[in-house]
């Protein structure tokens, strides 16, 4: 398996009038061809900003400060954000499915136009054959009656159907990587499951890598092979999903897992424990571990030393914590 995307020490800061927001503060991750990984964390921890940074879709006042984004052997940061090289990659080799299907499609253009423009741009198709291909793609993602629905406008589609359109657009040029930014947050639970199955099925068939950004642990547990847990702009723990779920080692991950019920768990055997406190304000962060105020495992070392760097914690597992929590749970 070859690495498709390798992100090293990525930092994206926002220069707001209240101060510098370190939305993404030195994260590293990689993904192999055909792999599905999950990027997990609470709202506002920098998940979306991380993947938007990779595609260089950060708007002012945001700015990518530092980092190396290696895609197909090239560092994407050498390219101008909206220059021809980046534009050639976006939408064809690297695509994105956004969170809000209701607002992510242009309300005044037909589905046909929104789909064909990608095919015309990246695959040099003419209007007619792009239209045919678009209908085919809609069928692939399970839009019923695709040949006539394609001339509808987004408001004539339900949320789930719009997200299928977004998925169809994302796979239209056989991408290397699909970023799915909370793809199922805005749709109901039944549709969520259908959409996730569909995405899994498609990426397996196309041998495309998929990064699912979510705060839903159930989603990653089921679909992702590896997980990156983010907190306050950094990755605090990573590893194969099964291991993370069976044996979490970072206090934050432990807290997350203790706060959600698990399927098959006998009623009343375990009390759900929330993580007390609130996520930190990303402006003017202290140099110590950002999870410190909410941590139940903290030691004197944590109060004095800066936020620890990721260290290896077993095979393919990385951890950013001074404390060895094993046996303390």
């Amino acid at each position: 398996m070859s690495v498709v995307l390798d992100v090293e020490n990525l930092k994206t800061y926002f220069h707001t009038e209240y101060g510098l927001v370190k939305a993404v503060d030195g994260i590293s991750f990689n993904i192999n061809q055909g792999e599905i990984i999950g990027l997990v964390g609470e709202s506002g921890c920098g998940k979306s900003v991380s993947i938007l940074s990779v595609m260089q879709l950060i708007l002012t006042p945001g700015e990518i400060i530092e980092g190396k984004i290696t895609f197909e052997g090239k560092d994407l940061r050498q390219f101008e954000a909206n220059g021809p090289e980046m534009r050639a990659i976006r939408g064809s080799k690297m695509t994105m499915i956004f969170q809000e299907p209701m607002t992510s499609l242009n309300p005044v253009l037909t589905i046909r136009r929104q789909m064909t423009e990608i095919l015309e741009l990246h695959l040099d198709m003419d209007r007619a054959s792009a239209g045919e291909r678009a209908v085919e793609l809609l069928r692939m993602v399970g839009v019923p009656d695709a040949a006539s629905r394609i001339d509808d406008y987004p408001h004539q589609f339900s949320g789930g159907m719009r997200q299928r359109v977004m998925i169809a657009m994302a796979i239209s040029c056989n991408p290397m990587i699909i970023f799915a930014d909370e793809p199922t947050t805005a749709v109901d639970v039944t549709t969520q499951a259908q959409l996730l199955e569909l995405m899994k099925d498609l990426v397996t068939r196309l041998n495309t890598a998929l990064i699912i950004v979510t705060h839903n642990l159930g989603v990653v547990a089921r679909y992702a092979q590896r997980i990156y847990v983010m907190y306050a702009g950094r990755i605090v723990e990573s590893g194969p999903s099964e291991e993370i779920f069976d044996d979490p080692q970072h206090p934050y991950t432990i807290g997350l897992l203790n706060s959600v019920p698990r399927l098959g768990e006998k009623h009343g055997t375990r009390k759900l424990v929330p993580i007390y406190g609130v996520p930190p304000n990303l402006i003017n962060m202290p140099p110590t571990c950002a999870f410190l105020p909410r941590c139940t495992y903290k030691t004197a070392q944590c109060e004095k030393e800066p936020w620890p760097a990721l260290r290896s914690a077993g095979d393919n597992r990385y951890l950013s914590c001074y404390v060895d929590v094993r046996g303390k749970q």
């Binding site: 695509t95 607002t103 242009n106 309300p107 990246h122």
Partner: protein
């Protein structure tokens, strides 16, 4: 859609009727008397005195001795037969007066509307795309000033500078563009200029804010994520969306221009509908005021209907409503 248009037309007629009723009543409630104005000019020429007998005679001839509701119904009846009535002061058929005056106002109004809309939208788009630059600041500041300047005051300022001080342009007047196009252009430069500044300013401000809003929309981010170039994103994805509120404002802009024509034709002595109306108000020439309000009201109601239809064409979400 047809049912919608018919419904809107019926509502439009009802609004127009209400407007004429109000105007009909109010011109008659104003202090003064059109017959006295008429007789005064009449007597100076004929060297006769104003007698009570003469006055009552005239009152009867013009039907002004009847109750106001009766006068209104009578006027409405004439209207349905295409008779707009007769001017007391000018002693002329109002239909003929309007046929002579309206094309001038329409000509100036059309130029102002087209140039104002194109200029305003262009300026707004440029500002939005170059936001924060000196060009954006310059246009935005000018637009803020432009929106607040009274039309007639600005017209007089222009006149003072270009006609009186510099002598580049004729102070006032009207020439048929088919007779002498060059002269007509020179005469129209200042009147159009003083009305258009408000149109451009309003349009530019609205377009700018709509564009800025659209630029941050989720679907524009999607467009960027597709790898489209900025030009395609602006033209295909942003402008049409940003134009939806702008088109709505076009109806209002037309109303502003018609209202502005009243001032500007007075300041620059252009014998159009605006000047006719202004003089009619001073002379208490009931019939002209009524006909003028009917005409302007009709234009504004109709243009708002056109705007709503255009809106449906721009925004598929309301097309079926």
């Amino acid at each position: 859609m047809t049912a919608y248009i018919i419904r809107r037309l019926i509502i439009g007629v009802i609004i127009l009727l209400l407007v004429t009723m109000v105007v009909f009543l109010f011109v008659r409630l104003m202090p003064g008397d059109p017959l006295l104005v008429y007789m005064a000019s009449f007597d100076i020429n004929r060297q006769t005195s104003i007698s009570q007998e003469n006055y009552e005679n005239l009152l009867h001839i013009w039907g002004l001795d009847r109750p106001i509701p009766v006068q209104y119904v009578d006027w409405l009846g004439g209207l349905l037969q295409g008779d707009l009535g007769k001017s007391i002061k000018l002693q002329e058929d109002i239909g003929i007066l309007i046929a002579e005056r309206m094309p001038r106002t329409a000509y100036i109004g059309f130029i102002t509307f087209v140039l104002g809309t194109i200029g305003g939208i262009t300026a707004g788009i440029v500002c939005a795309l170059r936001r924060g630059t000196w060009m954006d600041n310059l246009i935005t500041t000018t637009a803020n000033i432009g929106m607040t300047i009274p039309v007639f005051w600005f017209g007089i300022l222009l006149m003072y500078l270009f006609a009186y001080k510099l002598g580049w342009l004729p102070t006032s007047g009207w020439t048929n563009p088919f007779d002498d196009f060059w002269m007509s252009c020179k005469q129209l430069l200042m009147p159009v200029g003083s009305v258009i500044i408000g149109s451009i300013a309003g349009m530019a401000r609205l377009t700018r804010s709509c564009m800025l809003e659209v630029m941050r929309a989720d679907y524009v981010r999607t467009a960027w994520a597709k790898g489209l170039s900025e030009r395609v994103i602006v033209v295909r994805h942003q402008i049409k969306n940003a134009m939806i509120p702008v088109v709505t404002a076009l109806g209002g802009a037309l109303g502003m221009i018609l209202g502005g024509s009243v001032f500007i034709e007075t300041v620059f002595a252009i014998p159009g509908m605006g000047l006719l109306m202004t003089n009619a108000v001073f002379d208490q020439d009931y019939q002209i005021v009524q006909a003028g309000v009917l005409l302007f009201g009709g234009i504004i109601i109709f243009s708002n209907l056109v705007v709503d239809i255009l809106w449906g064409w721009l925004d598929p979400r309301i097309r079926l409503a």
